[in-house]
Assembly symmetry: C2
Homo-oligomer: 375 residues x 2
């Protein structure tokens, strides 16, 4: 129906914002005449709309933008309990959300998700035929086809064909993706990385994950394991990790490890916030803890920068207090362990994410497939 060129146009507008037909033509390498046709078709399909016009000299040019109501995607975040199912428009705006129980039985969970869809459509006043696909974000390893959850410790799943389970019930093209990778897709499609071809996203939560965009494409790795930095060695004399190795990043810098250490050190803390507060009050145990965790994460990020030279590193987290000692040590460690020329030219951004971000990230997985013509 739509050709490669159509999708190229949609992606270009999504990445670069509203554009004129002339600029689009130059980008995809075809004539004004052809462009006129392509855009007309996309306008007719309701995927594009004309917004404002820009005036330089001569006839003003009409800016073409994605039409938010042109397509909708559902995103399921299993990152929280209850899970969140959201309905998202083509421009990445959430128009409806529903919590569903995070049942550990995959079939039951798929039922919950499927049941949520009609309600979402009703709440969002979205016709069913506009819903183009669904994405699921979870903490764990996902296979190459983005269909099966190979292993999720948190959910207790192993080889669960989640995409099929949900897809059969909803009739929608369904994709599963790992937490960090779906968050990276969100940043690429709707966030800070729209116009960045190669970047790495770090996710610091209960566990630690990363995702790489390379040449404008998500790089999943040979076994879907690209970005699994939790088990990078950061201390060859470190603690044993549940993976069997020694000194994994996960044993020092994941929020689980940080809070666990705080507990054994007698720092009463429920969150990073509490530890930062204790450190600010002068608790040497808290300071030591934050130093160790921050420098471990910083070292891992430094390795990534040295090895991959990304255009940007985006650190994402779910804590209130990410602007304290922990982050400072992390940044210092990065600077100390990356060639100065490189570290100065590699922007590091830090941003918190909320539940909505996960659902949007999940939906982005489907949006991404749509914009690449694979739905």
């Amino acid at each position: 129906m739509l050709t490669t060129t159509h999708y190229q146009i949609l992606r270009h507008i999504n990445a670069g914002g509203p554009t004129t037909r002339a600029e689009l033509g130059a980008h995809v390498g075809s004539s004004k005449a052809a462009m006129s046709g392509f855009t007309r078709e996309l306008l007719e399909k309701g995927l594009l709309r004309e917004t404002s016009t820009v005036q330089k000299q001569g006839r003003p040019s009409a800016l073409l933008d994605l039409k938010p109501e042109g397509a909708y995607f559902a995103g399921v975040s299993i990152m929280s309990d209850p899970a969140l199912v959201a309905l998202v428009d083509l421009k990445g705006k959430i128009v409806a959300r529903i919590d569903v129980p995070r049942d550990t039985d995959p079939d039951v969970f798929a039922d919950h998700v499927a049941n949520a869809v009609p309600q979402l459509l009703e709440t969002g006043k979205v016709p069913g035929k506009s819903l183009m696909g669904m994405g699921v974000a979870l903490s764990g390893l996902v296979d190459q086809e983005q269909a099966n959850c190979i292993k999720s410790t948190i959910l207790g799943w192993q080889d669960v064909p989640l995409a099929r389970l949900i897809g059969q019930r909803t009739g929608l093209p369904t994709f599963v993706e790992n937490d960090a990778k779906s968050l990276a897709l969100r940043e690429k499609l709707f966030g800070e990385a729209r116009d960045i071809g190669s970047f790495t996203l770090i996710w610091l939560g209960k566990g630690i994950g990363a995702a790489h965009f390379v040449h404008d494409r998500l790089y999943r790795g040979a076994h879907g394991g690209a970005g699994e930095i939790a088990h990078c060695t950061v201390d060859v004399n470190g603690l044993p990790c549940r993976c069997g190795k020694i000194g994994c990043l996960d044993t020092v810098a994941s929020m689980i490890a940080i809070l666990e250490t705080a507990r054994t050190q007698g720092i009463g803390a429920e969150s990073l916030n509490d530890i930062e507060t204790a450190a600010a009050r002068g608790s040497s145990a808290a300071i030591r803890l934050l130093h160790r965790a921050g420098s471990a994460l910083g070292l891992a990020i430094a390795q990534i920068i040295q090895i991959n030279d990304p255009q940007m590193v985006l650190v994402t987290h779910q804590e209130q207090a990410f602007n304290g000692l922990f982050a400072a040590v992390m940044q210092q460690t990065i600077e100390a362990n990356v060639l100065p020329r490189l570290s100065g030219d590699t922007p590091l951004r830090i941003r918190g994410v909320d539940n909505d971000a996960w659902a949007l990230g999940a939906a982005s997985v489907a949006t991404h497939s749509f914009l690449n013509g694979s739905i």
Copy 2:
């Protein structure tokens, strides 16, 4: 002249070996009729030839292969002294070579290279118009346009527009590339990585470098610095490096560092070979040295595997004795620092390279541009 499809065909044949028209059609997604035209044009241009036929049932299908004499490329390796200039055919065979003085004055060196070209053509009995481009491989940092050498410590160069200097004299499209990256291009085009989309090549020489192929493309990094693992931190309490940081891989595992340490430790050694011999004879200093170097390199490779999950890791070197303690420790360290599931599924290959390999790597840079239609 040639369309994207033509180049797609050439690349597919180069990667997968001789193929039938039918198979090609399926791969590029066009009809038998179209394929008939494309291949005829390529046959007429002398870029393809029909080799044997394969017989299943029905009419036998003719296999199409690249025609070696269809295009030639020159490769300049500044990895040795004297430098080596080689003439390479489309299938990666060296048909002529000339040594040229490695003059440190870029202009003088460019003269030498330009003067070598006519001799090469004569020796190889290659008509000048078949020579499509030239590549230069050097140890150092190269800019994004593959035109300028930003910095080469060994050559003492900084911001040298080498591609322009040579190109002006020869009239050939000329590209400069870093050592590890050109070696990776060689492996991708003509070597073990032909059919591998994502792999990492490690180069252990006087310095240490790496190069990443991702999604069938060389990933150069945001600042051309992808793969610059020499300055990865492998020991936070290590030695100061000339880059200003502490504990860089380069201070422990580069051949320069290894031989320097051997010297200060009183191990009489001119090469890795000598140190391995000393270790085999029981010299504890040699054993300690090989352990330290091997485990440092292994750790860095482990980080790469954990971070990037490549399909293959290819370690290249220029030593006779790379099958001793050093390599064993390296492999052990990799296994100890990578998740077992991943390390078991990530083939590690080790291979020595000679001077010809560098010249071929250099030529590959031009071949690669040619096969991508950018010459």
